[in-house]
């Protein structure tokens, strides 16, 4: 058993604008089960952060409890981290984000952590449009506690040692749409080509960005009767279209045939290309997105890709008009601006 990844890396690894290689965004060696989908998602996060040239110390990764919530240890080893209690990650992010808007908040959760114990927190974070990326590593079970069905397990799906699930599943993207989420996507741990650009887009979005990533639990829920197995997901996934993310500073080189593609400029200036879009979905129209989700669900398919995005999203900071500066940079003269200012305020209230 290896306890460390060798320090050597490919000698020609590309360097990003900061001069960092992908290795600079890695964490320590994973202790998850061999083949766990969560590790692939970690790999995609590493790739996305490297390609976006993010400064590791400008990222905070937060999680709850579960195998999925353990995974932040295995990426972004040089970033800030907070492993909260079960289902409580959103409130910790809320506090952190209010205190310091300069960091990029990356929440990592599981289907148990989100759709059961953390449901209340999840819904309010969406409702408030908290500026964060929220990744659910969704395996339809409680992996860490040995594979009990979770609230996202499909009706009739059975885990390795379990009976067919008698309850209907909570569909997290559907729920998020209903609650007013401003960025909703779904992907699959085994499809980095799709997942990496989605993570990049989510990171460039201002407001709450949910990516529900189907992520098979090889140990407890990768059997033939499960609808969250590698095989089942590969056979039943249908993509809304392909997503290309072009960071702000890069030149757009690919050309797309007209009609089949749409271009969105994100608030940070990056450009998102959505192409070969399914005709039945307008990803900028909430009701179209909700209908598409339902249509695919009822035909037994898993809709993946960017499902909905609100180009004019206003995040919690804008709504509350919070301080533009992190609270820890506010000095006494900012916090106690003096008698004159107080007089003015009092006068305005008379």
């Amino acid at each position: 058993m290896s306890y460390q990844v060798p320090k050597f890396r490919h000698p020609e690894l590309p360097r990003n604008e900061l001069g960092y290689t992908r290795a600079d965004y890695e964490g320590s060696i994973s202790t998850l089960c061999a083949g766990c989908g969560h590790d692939s998602i970690s790999g995609s996060i590493v790739r996305a952060c490297h390609e976006l040239s993010l400064e590791p110390h400008k990222i905070a990764k937060l999680s709850g409890i579960g195998c999925s919530s353990k995974s932040p240890t295995y990426f972004l080893g040089k970033s800030h981290g907070f492993n909260s209690v079960h289902g409580r990650m959103p409130s910790v992010v809320t506090g952190a984000a209010m205190a310091n808007r300069d960091l990029l908040y990356l929440g990592v959760s599981g289907d148990g952590d989100t759709a059961s114990i953390g449901m209340g927190q999840f819904t309010h974070a969406i409702r408030r449009n908290l500026n964060m990326v929220y990744i659910v590593m969704n395996n339809g079970c409680y992996g860490l506690t040995k594979g009990q069905d979770s609230a996202t397990a499909d009706e009739g799906s059975a885990s390795k040692k379990g009976d067919p699930n008698p309850f209907g599943a909570i569909d997290l993207p559907g729920l998020a749409l209903q609650l007013g989420a401003t960025f909703v996507a779904r992907s699959f741990s085994g499809d980095k080509e799709q997942l990496v650009p989605l993570i990049k887009a989510a990171m460039s979005h201002r407001g709450f960005a949910l990516i529900d990533v189907v992520s098979p639990c090889v140990t407890f829920n990768n059997n033939t009767a499960s609808t969250k197995s590698y095989e089942f997901v590969r056979e039943h996934a249908a993509a809304t279209g392909t997503v290309d993310f072009v960071p702000m500073r890069e030149e757009i080189t690919t050309s797309y045939p007209p009609g089949q593609s749409q271009e969105v400029t994100m608030h940070d200036g990056s450009v998102l290309h959505l192409h070969k879009l399914s005709e039945e979905l307008d990803p900028f129209c909430r009701s179209s997105a909700m209908m598409a989700l339902e249509r695919y669900r009822s035909s037994g398919q898993i809709l993946t890709g960017l499902i909905y995005m609100d180009k004019d999203s206003r995040d919690l900071h804008e709504v509350l008009e919070t301080s533009r500066r992190p609270l820890n940079t506010l000095a006494e003269e900012d916090l106690c601006p003096g008698d004159k200012v107080l007089q003015n305020i009092n006068a305005s209230l008379r």
């Binding site: 290896s2 460390q4 990844v5 060798p6 050597f8 000698p11 020609e12 994973s30 590790d39 790999g43």
Partner: protein, 592 residues
């Protein structure tokens, strides 16, 4: 691309870079692991089977394995493969009882080996255990060829050479030493079943420059002078010595001069320093002993005063390269440079010479007056007569002579049994899983970060005081262990079984050096452009699987794989396994 045929023994052989580069294909990582386990005798025997002179080669090998070593592609320096071989030799226990028994009952076939260098000795080493009777002829007083006459004692102590030469001679070889063979016909007349020519490239080249005749015995041919030193006919030299040439012979000449009384010893070479033929470590060793190297100096004439050599004149040149990279040395136009000298050693190259082979024996010679020799069988156009070592294709090195000797022995054995020398036995290979349990391997799969260890040297003053004091002290056991731990175990192969793969990407995610990709198939050049990491080293193969359920293929770039086993540890279905691949070159007497 077509799926890789890993059943072809050459595929995995090529992954073991060091072994593949070694002319004798020594199973390097196998012996390095044994050194790490402090099983020196076994490590020695693995070497002895392949390269016959581990003690000699552990000090003097040209080490083509080291520039090939994978470690050199992931960090600054390769594994010190050569010096680890010496650790095995220095620390070995009794080995004679592990060597093959020599049959009392001979097979009735008689073989002559002309020259007692490493090539001939290897032929004897391989054929004696099969019952052949072997006669070796050499004009020197003892066996070893240039290993004895040329390689100086401060690089190769005589006891080390004697021991390994005697392992072979003591098999019952009949030696005819101190005998110059002057006629091939006379050897043929003795009725041998086959004859092996291993006479090396014994003629040193000279320079015809003005003043040469007057300079008389102050000017020496380097290799003749070195052998006179080795055989103790010469034990001193003038205080001012010029050595002409930039190869390894020049380095041995200058270092030997320094030990025989030379005070101002200089190497003067026409080419730029970087283009010199000498191995980098030989140049370093010479400079470490205080010998300056003057590059870009073309010798023009010997300067004679009062009928005695006074020194030499040199023209300064500059290297110019044309569009095809072809070099020419163009004079700079500066004044010629004078350097004083009591003695001059010319070390500008060696040649073959076969004045003793009559040209009517059915042995064809080409336009360079070299025998026509088959590159696989080493047979000449006279089917009874075989050539190997420096005699076959010109001067090389000891390990090449050994490799030739092994192959010539295979041919001689086939020939004497009346079989075709082209029907050669296949290499013996073996591929075994190293799995000991979940995530447990029988080899040390962790990769050490240590940089290459430096071999300790004897104090300079002591080394320069006596030409027989060995300069390198070799690694002790502790350093040997640490250096051995740097080896990546490239023979432990990553073997992929596509039918088990569920395409979960776990291997891709864990691989520290981004070797693995799952992607659509394509032709090689195009595929190389879109793998997980740059795959521009065309000398290294891509391992491509059959199509997987998603129609993609697994592509592994072998280039910088650390053989760390993490892909196999992270694979939930054991589609990856770490399997040790042993490759042994075919040997004489092995069934085809």
């Amino acid at each position: 691309m077509e799926p890789t045929d890993v059943k072809n023994p050459e595929y995995f052989h090529k992954v073991v870079d060091c072994q593949y580069a070694c002319p004798a294909h020594t199973p390097v990582p196998e012996y390095i692991r044994l050194i790490a386990a402090r099983r020196y005798t076994e490590a020695y025997m693995i070497n002895w089977e392949s390269n016959v002179f581990p003690g000699v080669l552990g000090r003097t090998c040209d080490r083509p394995c080291e520039p090939a070593c994978r470690r050199g592609r992931i960090e600054k320096e390769p594994v010190a493969i050569c010096r680890l071989k010496r650790v095995a030799a220095d620390n070995k226990g009794e080995v004679r009882d592990r060597m093959p028994a020599i049959p009392e009952q001979k097979n009735g076939k008689r073989i002559a080996c002309i020259g007692a260098g490493p090539a001939s000795l290897t032929v004897a080493r391989d054929l004696m255990p099969l019952g052949y009777s072997i006669d070796i002829y050499d004009n020197q007083i003892a066996g070893g060829g240039m290993m004895r006459s040329q390689i100086p004692s401060f690089r190769l102590p005589i006891q080390v050479l004697d021991e390994e030469v005697n392992f072979i001679l003591d098999m019952g070889v009949t030696t005819f030493f101190d005998i110059e063979v002057t006629s091939m016909q006379s050897i043929i007349d003795k009725g041998y079943d086959a004859i092996f020519v291993g006479t090396g490239a014994p003629r040193g080249k000279g320079l015809e420059l003005p003043g040469l005749a007057e300079a008389g015995d102050a000017v020496h041919v380097g290799i003749d002078w070195l052998s006179s030193v080795a055989f103790e006919h010469i034990d001193s030299i003038g205080k001012k010595v010029l050595v002409l040439g930039g190869g390894n012979t020049a380095m041995d000449c200058c270092r030997t001069s320094k030990r025989l009384g030379g005070e101002d010893v200089r190497v003067v070479v026409r080419s730029p320093f970087a283009d010199m033929k000498a191995s980098p470590w030989e140049k370093e060793d010479a400079m470490h002993e205080g010998i300056p190297i003057y590059d870009n100096h073309t010798p023009k004439e010997f300067v004679i005063e009062d009928g005695k050599l006074k020194g030499m004149l040199f023209e300064k040149v500059e290297a110019k390269y044309d569009d095809n990279g072809k070099r020419s040395l163009v004079p700079t136009g500066e004044d010629w440079v004078f350097m004083e000298a009591d003695d001059v050693l010319m070390a500008i190259g060696q040649e073959n010479a076969f004045p003793w082979i009559e040209r009517d024996l059915g042995i064809d010679f080409d336009k360079w007056d070299m025998p026509v020799v088959d590159e696989t069988s080493f047979q000449s156009t006279n089917p009874k007569i075989f050539f190997g070592g420096d005699a076959a294709f010109g001067p090389e090195n000891v390990i090449t002579a050994v490799a030739h000797g092994h192959q010539a022995a295979v041919s001689i054995d086939l020939f004497c049994r009346g079989e075709s020398v082209q029907d050669r036995p296949a290499p013996r290979t073996n591929l075994i899983s190293q799995k000991m349990g979940i995530h447990e391997w029988s080899y040390d799969n962790a990769v050490e970060n240590d940089e290459r260890y430096i071999v300790p040297l004897a104090p300079l003053e002591k080394a320069l005081g006596d030409r027989k004091v060995e300069v390198e002290l070799g690694f002790d056991q502790e350093m040997g262990f640490k250096e051995a731990e740097r080896c990546l175990n490239c023979d432990v192969q990553t073997v992929f079984e596509e039918s088990r793969c569920i395409e979960c990407d776990a291997c891709v995610d864990i691989c520290p050096t981004d070797c693995i990709s799952f992607t659509a198939n394509g032709d090689e050049q195009e595929l190389r452009g879109r793998l997980s990491a740059p795959a521009g080293n065309l000398a290294q193969d891509l391992y491509v699987s059959e199509a997987l359920p998603t129609t993609r293929v697994m592509v592994k770039d072998e280039n910088v794989c650390l053989h760390c086993g993490l892909c196999a540890e992270r694979c939930p279905t054991t589609a990856w396994d770490m399997q040790k691949f042993l490759y042994n070159v075919s040997k004489a007497g092995q069934a085809a």
